[in-house]
């Protein structure tokens, strides 16, 4: 099994004619993802050609794209000024799952988009995230199929390349994954660690979860408490930013220690107190996951 996306997911790409949108549309199709439509306002009627003779019809609006293609998920690659609007358009069109890859979305825009998406009952992943991949089934976003392999481990992370690092090491050690989810590095995000833990718990095949957090906020602490209280799966944790100075934004908009809150120590303590094994080095993620699967 897997969470959020699989071989039945029908994806519409918002911003499909842009540089990133067209590039990753091809990569998604190459991996076997069913990309059924694209949207770029003003470019409706065009066709984007993909690998293996794929032809993806382009529409002006999400409503048209969903009505014509039966898409149930969207992947957003539009520039920051238009990203929140694209998220809300997707939610309104009736797709169940919206993945926003865009980095640099204004946070106040996101506060409105978040409330709008919640009202429409859609699930948002991101923004500022690498998306989600279910190995052997589908990738929605920008995670490369080269570094994953099917198996029993769920991976959830706030970071992009650090996720690749961890997943690449798991794959290299012969430990496969059910689904790898990047939830994004922004302060306001749709899907949280807890949402992913719950989904992995309901997925029949996930036998352990790797949770990769970083400084800033309290999402990891809340997820740790949830895991300690009501999760039946073993969890392996890693926190980036132990050497980060307070008050400085470390690349990600959300990666900042505010006052004494959001430190790596605080998160690591919450992990330990709730029975989550903490990897001190990325390479230890592999060792701890192997133990967790025993």
């Amino acid at each position: 099994m897997s969470i959020f996306v699989d071989e039945s997911t029908r994806v519409v790409v918002q911003g499909i004619t842009g540089r990133d949108g067209s590039f990753h549309t091809a990569r998604m199709i190459e991996y076997g993802t069913r990309v059924v439509a694209g949207v770029t306002p003003g470019k409706g009627g065009r066709v984007v050609e993909g690998p293996g003779g794929a032809r993806v019809p382009v529409f002006d609006t999400m409503n048209e794209a969903v009505a014509e293609s039966g898409a149930n998920a969207s992947a957003i690659y539009v520039p920051p000024p238009f990203a929140a609007s694209a998220i809300m358009e997707a939610a309104e069109s009736g797709v169940e799952f919206v993945v926003c890859i865009t980095e640099g979305v204004p946070v106040l825009d996101m506060t409105r988009a978040y409330a709008f998406v919640a009202d429409h009952g859609a699930r948002l992943l991101g923004p500022n995230c690498p998306g989600v991949i279910s190995p052997g089934k589908a990738t929605v976003g920008i995670i490369s199929g080269d570094i994953v392999t099917p198996g029993p481990v769920g991976v959830v992370s706030r970071s992009g390349t650090l996720t690749y690092e961890a997943v690449g090491q798991l794959t290299g050690a012969g430990i496969g994954q059910t689904t790898c989810v990047g939830i994004g590095g922004d302060p306001i995000i749709g899907t949280t660690f807890i949402d992913c833990l719950k989904a992995f718990a309901e997925d029949g095949e996930t036998r352990a979860v790797v949770m990769i957090g970083e400084i800033g906020g309290t999402d990891e602490q809340e997820a740790a408490e949830y895991a300690g209280r009501s999760l039946d799966l073993p969890v392996v944790g890693f926190i980036a930013g132990q050497t980060a100075p307070p008050g400085r934004r470390m690349g990600h908009a959300g990666a900042i220690i505010s006052g004494s809150s959001g430190t790596a120590e605080e998160k690591i303590r919450a992990f330990r107190e709730n029975g989550i094994g903490v990897a001190r080095r990325p390479i230890d993620i592999v060792h701890l996951t192997r133990e967790a699967l025993r």
């Binding site: 106040l108 506060t111 490369s144 080269d146 992009g160 306001i188 906020g217 690349g251 990325p282």
Partner: protein, 377 residues
């Protein structure tokens, strides 16, 4: 992006908030003259991006222009939490009857703007939150509707008993919300908001942080950035589209992706080294960005070794390799460069590097250990 108090006060005044007019001085003489204009007495306040200015001796009451000049002489050039004071703000002395705290921020837990207000004003709000959390009132604002009038009045009444003060406070809170939204802030804070003996509510301090992601559509705010308050390297990095934070160690780090960059710094520390910086070259990195990154890293005299950790995805390893080669051709880089790269176009990258006599690691653990050893040697 942090604003100085004098800049934040202007944003507050533009929104109609009751903020007494202040003036900025950069020399003691100017400070004395301003105090004389104000009638002699003034409060002299260090303008620096740091809390705890009062405790550090950066806020002083002057009874005469001569005192104002003397205070300014003491404050200008002083260091508060590592930051040098280049400017002082002079403001009128107020007759304070009571002090309150009001603030609004983007709260990650409620995924919306959140007001925090407290009767415990004029003190460190983090301390209040830690020691007496029930003294803080919170209100989540639905960003689609804004701060509703009855909500503003409810918060005002929580802060002041007298109806006149509660009403004035409610108005201030609505204005503060306007400043927050209009300027794309992640934090707006007044500490303290005071009631004077004459029954007037006034904001006598101002703190505003602008969300970096909001700046592209507010170019006027970019001009408020204080370049003196950050190391030159961080200014250069921003211009080159790099995310950079200067640290005190000697292992220069160049990584793609913020999470991996932090994990790399942590691993340097784990193996007994000290990172010289956080540096994320970003996703679609061109050779030019890598050249700029190397210039910034090598400008730090503490750097003994340069560590590249690249996990190629959108970032192409061959782009990074070309950037390294280009940078070493342009300048004589003394520090050894240790490179780890894997992922997209790895084979081409290795060929490019090999032609210039570089070799590259495949494992993050190995390259970090090697870099720490070289830095210690």
């Amino acid at each position: 992006m942090n604003l100085h108090e004098f800049q934040a006060r202007e944003l507050f005044r533009d929104a109609g908030m009751p903020v007494p007019r202040g003036r900025v001085a950069i020399t003691p003489g100017e400070a004395g003259a301003i105090a004389a204009d104000m009638g002699g007495a003034a409060v002299v306040k260090a303008q620096v991006h740091s809390g705890g200015r009062g405790k550090a001796g950066g806020v002083k009451l002057a009874g005469t222009p001569e005192e104002a000049e003397a205070h300014a002489r003491a404050i200008l050039g002083m260091t508060i939490r590592g930051l040098t004071v280049h400017k002082v703000l002079l403001v009128p002395v107020e007759n304070i009857a009571s002090e309150r705290y009001v603030g609004i921020l983007v709260d990650r837990a409620v995924q919306a703007p959140l007001f925090m207000v407290s009767r415990e004003g004029g003190v460190d709000i983090e301390e209040v939150a830690a020691t007496n959390p029930s003294a803080i009132n919170r209100l989540r604002v639905d960003p689609r509707f804004g701060l509703l009038p009855h909500q503003a009045y409810r918060l005002g009444s929580a802060l002041f008993d007298a109806p006149s003060l509660a009403r004035q406070c409610a108005t201030v809170l609505s204005q503060l919300y306007q400043v927050f939204m209009k300027n794309g802030a992640s934090l707006c804070e007044v500490n303290p908001l005071i009631a004077t003996a004459a029954g007037e509510v006034k904001a006598i301090d101002a703190k505003v942080t602008i969300e970096e992601n909001e700046l592209f559509r507010r170019p006027a705010l970019e001009s408020l950035r204080d370049l003196d308050a950050e190391p030159n390297a961080e200014t250069h990095a921003r211009a080159a589209g790099l995310s950079f934070v200067k640290l005190d160690g000697n292992v220069g780090c160049c990584v793609n992706g913020a999470g991996l960059a932090m994990a790399t710094m942590d691993l340097v520390k784990y193996y007994g080294g000290d990172p010289a910086n956080f540096l994320d070259i970003g996703g679609s990195s061109s050779p030019d960005k890598v050249v700029a990154a190397l210039e910034i890293i090598t400008a730090d005299p503490n750097v003994q070794v340069i560590l590249f950790n690249i996990f190629g995805g959108i970032t192409r390893c061959d782009d990074v390799a070309r950037g390294i080669v280009e940078a070493t051709r342009r300048a004589d880089i003394r520090a050894p460069i240790l490179i780890r790269l894997t992922g997209t176009n790895e084979a081409e990258a290795r060929d490019i590097l090999a032609a210039e006599g570089f070799s590259a690691f495949t494992s993050m653990d190995d390259v970090v250990r090697a870099a720490v050893e070289r830095a210690a040697a």
